[in-house]
Structure formats: C-alpha cells, structure tokens
C-alpha cells in the first residue's frame, strides 16, 4: 500500500506547489496590468496593489474550500484571485464596466463573488471584520461546516470593532480566522508608530489561537493556515494569523514618491532577498519540482492571459445610465 500511495502523495504535493506558484504569478501579473491601466489613464480612480504579498492570499486560500467564505480589504485583488475569481470580470469591474463582478457599481475596492464565497472587499479599514464573523456564525447555526477568513491589514489593528468581534467569535466558538497582513505601512506611516504592545497578545487575550508566520513563504503560510482552518472546521474556535509581509508599491498606484516614509534601499532589499515568487521558484527547482524554463513559461502564459483579460475589459460596454438606481434594494 505505502509504496503505491507515496508517489501519488508526492505528485499531489507537487501539483499543489505548482498551483500555488501559478496563482502567485497570476496575482503579480494582474497587478502589473492594473498599474499599467493607471499609468495609461485607462482606469477611473485608484487601486491598491498587492504585489509583494502574494504568498499570504495564496497560502491561505489554498487551505480553503470553494464554499468557504472570505472577506477582503481595499488591497483585495490578490484575495479575490486566490479564491478563484476570473481576471476578465475583475478588470471589467476595475474599469466600471457592466461585465464586471458588481456590474461596475463596486470598483476595485468592492469586488464580491458569491460563487467563490467572496463576501466582498471593503474600503473601510476593518469594515469586514463583523461580516466575516457573521458568516462564521451562519456556519455554526446552519451546521454547514464552512469556515470564514477575514483578511485585514495591520492598520485594522487600530479599529475597536476588531476586538469586539474577536470577543464574540471566541464566546460563540465561531469558525473564523483573522488573517492580519502586516506589510509594515499603515498607508504612509510605519506600523510601529501606530501599534502599541504585542500584536499576537491582543488575540490571545481573548483566548484565540494565535500564530505568526513569514508572509513571504507560501509553504509556511499554507501549512499554518491548513492547521487553523482544520481546527476551526472541527469546532475548536477562532484563530488569528499574523503574516509578516511587504508592500512593494505605494499605498495606492498614485503613491510614487515614497522616500519621505521609507527608503529605496529597504524596498530593494525586500524585492531582491525576500520575494515570495522568486524564492519559491528557486526552491521548486531545487526540489526538482520544476525547471527554470517551465517557470518562465508560467510567467509568460499568465502575462498573455492578463493582457487578454484587460482587452476584454476595455472593449466591454459601460452600464446604461438607467441602471444607476437598480440594486439599491433587493
């Protein structure tokens, strides 16, 4: 038995690794196109790029079922993609087109997709903490075995509602995991200037299972996410996962000159030494799970796929003006 299952298990593992690599590249290529749309003045408004943080969304969402729930943030494209959203409908939404996930009414910061359990990105910092906790409450009441993941940035640690819902989640033993992406900057301010004391102790004080992980290491994120998701699904209650990561770009696409709050050397260090995709790719080659050519091919395939999705979105029509008052009430 073991001699037969071992290669199968091994190939399933390699399949997972390659899928995670591909997903991370997809997010990066998607975001590269978003930046391009902004610089070419083709996108209304602004967007907040996820580049540099890909391992968090991918590592966590790979630990979830399609029917599990996520809530996302203003920096949410990565979460949507990792949970299974289609780039073409996402780009259409970013351009305010009717073919977008929200018929163009939401935009970059509000992409939602019931088909993939995406309860929506949120433009209020920590605005979705209650929603994610409520989805976990439904899972408990309806006994459907689902889990909810609440993605937040470290900026959300300043919002009181987070502590209200962590308290509720623990009291009601809800299957919710608060995944805190600490990308070091709360907009234009280093998090150390806005965050007192110990972050994990804020969660453990309520009795939540709490852990921190290198957010640039997709395998590490995935491993710990699996454990916390499994624990929540078995009814053992909520958890808090702190992912230490870095935002390569500015707070939003228009935040170009950043030297007043962080140095170019610091950015360069993260990009060259801590890049989640490059490092994981190198590791895959070392494990003989992939070779440099096949990884480069993944990159070029996804670049083409994203360009095609952008073309679809650019060609798609805007919603009719008569639709402005639709969907206010169900």
């Amino acid at each position: 038995m073991t001699t037969i299952t071992q290669p199968k298990e091994a190939s399933a593992k390699v399949e997972l690794w390659l899928r995670m690599y591909r997903q991370m590249v997809a997010i990066r290529q998607f975001e590269a196109q978003v930046n391009e749309l902004y610089t070419r003045a083709l996108m209304p408004g602004l967007a907040h790029l996820y580049i540099g943080e890909e391992a968090v969304a991918v590592g966590v969402c790979e630990a979830l079922e399609r029917t599990d729930y996520i809530t996302s943030t203003h920096r949410g494209h990565g979460h949507c993609l990792a949970k299974g959203a289609s780039p073409d409908k996402m780009f259409a939404e970013l351009l305010g087109k009717k073919a977008g996930y929200c018929k163009g009414k939401g935009g970059s910061m509000h992409i939602a997709d019931p088909a993939t359990g995406n309860l929506g990105a949120n433009a209020i910092v920590c605005g979705s903490a209650g929603i994610a906790t409520g989805a976990a409450f439904s899972a408990r009441q309806l006994k459907n075995g689902r889990v909810a993941v609440c993605f937040i940035g470290e900026g959300a640690l300043g919002q009181g509602v987070l502590y209200e819902v962590m308290n509720l989640a623990q009291l009601f033993k809800l299957p919710v995991i608060y995944v805190c992406e600490n990308n070091l900057y709360t907009e234009y301010t280093h998090y150390s200037e806005t965050t007192a004391g110990d972050i994990l102790m804020r969660a453990t004080a309520f009795g939540l299972e709490a852990a921190s992980v290198d957010g640039q290491d997709v395998l590490a994120v995935h491993g710990i996410a699996e454990r916390l998701v499994d624990r929540a699904r078995r009814g053992n209650g909520p958890a808090f996962l702190l992912c230490n990561t870095y935002r390569y770009h500015g707070h939003h696409v228009g935040d170009i000159n950043r030297e007043y709050y962080r140095s170019k050397q610091e950015e360069q260090m993260w990009k060259t030494e801590r890049d989640p995709i490059a490092n994981f790719g190198k590791w895959l080659v070392e494990q003989n799970a992939a070779d440099p050519t096949s990884l480069a091919q993944v990159q070029s395939e996804l670049e083409l796929e994203m360009k095609a999705a952008v073309d679809f979105a650019i060609a798609a029509p805007y919603p009719g003006v008569d639709e402005v008052a639709e969907d206010v009430y169900a």
């Binding site: 939401g106 939602a112 929506g120 903490a129 409450f137 509720l168 009430y329 169900a330």
Partner: protein, 335 residues
C-alpha cells in the same frame, strides 16, 4: 404562555410590547433562520421585558445574549444575514445606534448595491426612541432621521400594536436591512391585534382619523398626540385628519399629498429633532406635491434643538404635546 390563551379568543387586545413579542415568536416558529441577538435579550428579555419568554421557547442558540458591543454584534448580524440567517438585533436604546453606524451605513446598506445585486442583507435592527421617560440626554433621543438618510436601509416607525406586529413581521420577511424604531413610552399601550397571521406592507400610510380642515402627519407616539389634539380641536369646530406614514422609507408620498390637497393645511409631527429632521422631508413632499392646494405654509413640529434634559419640567417642553399641537393648528387655521 398567557398570550396563547388570549390569542385563542380571536378578537383581543395586546400591548405594544406583546404585539412585538408575538411577531418575533411567530416568525421564529415559521423560519428557523430567524434569531435574536443583543444585550440582555435572553433571560432578562430586555430591560423593557419585550422579549420575555422567547428564550424558553427557542433556546440559547436562537436568542443570544451578546457583550455590550453594538458595533460588533451588528456587524456580525450583517455577515450572518448575507450567508443564510435572518438576524434581528436589539439595540436597547436608540441613542446607541451611533455605535452601529459603520456597520449599518457603510456595510448593511451598501452590500447589495456594491455587489451589483449579488449579496443580500435580510436583517432587522430593533431599537427604541422617545423622550419624557426621565432618562436624560443619552437615553431619550429619537435618531431615526439618521438612518432615513441612507439609501439601502428601510425605516419603520409603528404607532399601534396592530401596526407594530404586522410591520415587524413584514420587516423580518424583507430581503433588505430594516430598522424598526419602537417608542419606549408606548410599550404598555393596548390595542386590537388579530390572532390570525398578517403583515402590514412597507410603504403604505394609514389614515388614523378622517378630517376635513387640516392634515396632521404624525409618526410613532406623535400619532397619539395628534389624535388627542384632534379631539380638542373638534370642540372648537376644527376637523383634523391624522395620517401616519408608518414607514419613513419606503414612503407613501401619495397618501400624504392627497390628504393635504383635501384639507389645504398640514402640520408634520415627529419626535426627532426638528432641524434637518424627518419633518423637513415630509413637509417638502407635501409642499411640492400639494402646492397649489395649500392655504398656508406647511408647519413642522419636532424635538427642540437641545440635548434632552433630565429635569422633568425642562424635558416636557422639548417635544410636541396635545396642547402645543392644538395651539399650532389654531394659528394655522386662523381661529
């Protein structure tokens, strides 16, 4: 339960509080996804005892005591409503809705629209309003206008036990976030309530008294004030019509306008602050819709622009009374 024996008699009278409790119990029996959450809703049945007995029938999994975390459990209810539940949250005093603003205004109200109609938020927030309970500035306000201002929310102000039960049942069955304001001074008011299953549709005003000379548009407890004033006015030969919009949004503009066209005069009564309040919106509807039939400017009467004071003689002058309405009508009618 004593209510059940009353119910068996068919025609009966219930208090406002009993009508609300009965609406909740019936909807919870009908639909297993309806649950109640809030501070002291379970064993205590709220400080007003509106929910007494529900824990015993439905258990702790459906009648949930929460911490004192209005934002937290309201937000939780939004997410629960999106994913298959029909939560009814209890905000003990209407003054505390300030703590729920982001969850209701930025989340609940907008989720359906922002998602292009994909997610729905079928939840109800029950809360209270009303002064003259000697509760001072942070337990006496009527802040419903704030939620009326937000597209995506529906807002209900029942004035009788019959309306309270029928409107609350309709609210629970509605696919949208609905805020239900109960005047805490009315919990003991009695009125006829059918024992059969019924709902009162949202967006349909009710003429509480037919009259010819002036329209008194009144909300919540102001309906009783208007009816009292109408009795006084009858003695001096003025026939007042009392119109209760019942729901602030959706709003039955036609019934308001038709009544004002018929009587040619209108006063709007509401316990919220008069400035920038509900009275301004309703007065505008009538001033615009009945302009050519009006013989006098539309008058508004709401709460004074002061924090509600504690001292009884001070508190009593902050809100409209039968006597002040009576006087205002006399002036408006030139009598």
């Amino acid at each position: 339960m004593p209510e059940n024996s009353v119910q068996a008699q068919g025609d009966r009278e219930l208090t406002f509080a009993q009508a609300i409790r009965e609406a909740l119990a019936e909807e919870m029996r009908r639909d297993a996804t309806v649950c109640i959450m809030g501070e002291d809703v379970a064993e205590a049945g709220t400080p007003f005892k509106v929910l007494s007995g529900l824990l015993e029938e439905f258990g702790k999994d459906r009648v949930l005591d929460t911490p004192i975390s209005e934002a937290g459990f309201t937000g939780l209810a939004v997410g629960a409503a999106m994913t298959g539940m029909r939560p009814v949250v209890d905000i003990m005093f209407g003054d505390f809705i300030t703590l729920t603003m982001d969850q209701m205004v930025n989340q609940a109200a907008k989720v359906h629209y922002m998602s292009g109609g994909k997610w729905r938020v079928p939840m109800v927030m029950r809360t209270t309003m009303g002064a003259t309970r000697r509760s001072a500035a942070q337990h006496s306000q009527s802040l419903h206008a704030w939620y009326c201002h937000v597209p995506g929310l529906k807002v209900i102000l029942p004035s009788t036990p019959y309306d309270a039960k029928g409107l609350l049942k309709a609210a629970i069955r509605d696919e949208n976030p609905v805020v239900f304001f109960e005047d805490k001074m009315m919990y003991k008011v009695k009125g006829p309530v059918p024992s059969s299953d019924y709902t009162v549709p949202l967006g349909v005003a009710d003429i509480k008294r037919v009259g010819e000379d002036i329209t008194l548009v009144a909300t919540s407890s102001m309906v009783q004030v208007a009816l009292g004033a109408a009795t006084l006015l009858e003695e001096i030969g003025i026939s007042a019509e009392v119109v209760d919009p019942r729901t602030m949004w959706p709003l039955d503009e036609k019934t308001l306008i038709d009544s004002a066209k018929k009587t040619s005069r209108a006063i709007i009564l509401d316990e919220g602050y008069e400035r920038y309040g509900v009275t301004a919106e309703l007065a505008s509807v009538i001033a615009t819709g009945a302009f050519y039939d009006l013989d006098a400017p539309v008058k508004r009467m709401g709460a004074m622009h002061v924090p509600i004071p504690f001292s009884p003689p001070l508190e009593d002058v902050t809100v409209p009374t039968e006597q002040t309405v009576f006087e205002a009508v006399r002036v408006l009618c030139g009598r």
